[in-house]
């Protein structure tokens, strides 16, 4: 079980590492923000945004799990840590789905 959380953590990290420079670049072009925002209205882009936010939440959840194992010695309660990671992910995904 923990292996899947770790894989999700890694893949989401890679996705974020690719996304982040693009995010910074788009924001840096703030003067053209309206034309960029118009582009983001497309459904595929919206789906991508949702996916990235879920990736962020998943990575955060997985990261909290790692910090708990390394610093709080929660190694016995790995199942609850996995659940915590998943819960954080779903909560954020849901919140954003409703907002978008």
């Amino acid at each position: 079980m923990s292996r899947w959380v770790a894989h999700v953590h890694r893949v989401s990290g890679i996705a974020l590492a690719i996304f982040l420079p693009l995010h910074f670049w788009a924001l840096g072009n703030a003067l053209q923000l309206d034309s960029f925002l118009a582009w983001t209205e497309q459904p595929l882009v919206k789906a991508g945004e949702w996916a990235i936010v879920v990736a962020l939440a998943a990575h955060l959840g997985g990261g909290l799990r790692v910090l708990a194992i390394e610093f709080l010695d929660w190694h016995e309660r790995q199942k609850s840590l996995v659940a915590l990671a998943a819960a954080v992910t779903f909560a954020v995904g849901l919140a954003l789905a409703l907002a978008l």
């Binding site: 923990s2 292996r3 890694r10 799990r65 390394e70 610093f71 010695d73 190694h75 016995e76 790995q78």
Partner: protein, 234 residues
């Protein structure tokens, strides 16, 4: 039932055998039956056959286990079973792996007790209820069976990685009140080949037949090396 057994070295093939199925049968019983009744050339290791020595560790249906403690009923897929040698270790022949690298890494992690006293000194008084002793006791039951090492995918991806068993042993010694060369040991377990390569997949802890937690030990080493680095001792 049909049993597929690995034959050969690192390259080889599975050979199928038809083995009678009994209640309360262990995988070791199955392998022993094959070697005694069907094919005497099959090579495998065992010793105590009662779950104390760890010699019979093999990969059963993809998972590293002690075969003497694995009931066929618990792991058989329908009426079939697949037995192969432990992963992440060179294969000598059939189900026998070369354990040298496993124990060499133990030594590289400074997994041996050294101590600092001589026969002329008084005993070190180690109180069993101290934090350090309780932490060490949680990990000292390791018998070096290599199930954790074989289950770890960082070991698979990083040939230099010392692995969960060696690091677990190092951690028990870091917490041993009688040990004096801690900075040297911490230096040995830090780095890309040491505790920092662990990604907390926790396959080691999940698979350990003695229910130890190398993950916890490695987390402890991460904290200990960080503390030592901050104090300039590393």
């Amino acid at each position: 039932m049909k049993v597929r057994v690995w034959r050969g070295g690192t390259s080889g093939a599975f050979q199928a055998f038809d083995v009678p199925r009994y209640p309360s049968q262990t995988v070791l019983d199955v392998v022993t039956h094959i070697q005694r009744r069907l094919d005497p050339t099959l090579a495998y290791r065992f010793a105590c056959r009662v779950g104390m020595c760890g010699s019979c560790a093999m990969t059963v249906n993809g998972v590293a286990r002690w075969t003497c403690r694995t009931h066929v009923d618990k792991v058989a897929h329908g009426d079939s079973l697949e037995v192969s040698p432990l992963k992440n270790l060179p294969v000598i022949r059939d189900l026998v792996t070369d354990m040298r690298e496993f124990f060499d890494k133990w030594a590289r992690a400074k997994g041996q007790f050294k101590g600092g006293r001589t026969r002329n000194d008084d005993f070190e008084k180690v109180m069993p209820e101290t934090e350090g002793r309780r932490v060490a006791d949680a990990g000292i039951e390791c018998i070096g069976c290599a199930v954790c090492y074989s289950s770890c995918n960082v070991v698979a991806a990083n040939p230099a990685y010392l692995g969960p068993a060696a690091l677990n042993r190092a951690w028990t010694l870091v917490n041993d009140a009688r040990e004096k060369d801690n900075p040297e040991r911490l230096r040995a377990v830090a780095g890309d080949a040491g505790c920092h390569a662990c990604h907390t997949h926790m396959d080691c802890t999940e698979r350990c037949p003695k229910h130890l937690s190398p993950t916890a030990a490695i987390a402890g080493l991460k904290r200990a090396t960080a503390k030592a680095a901050l104090k300039g001792e590393l």
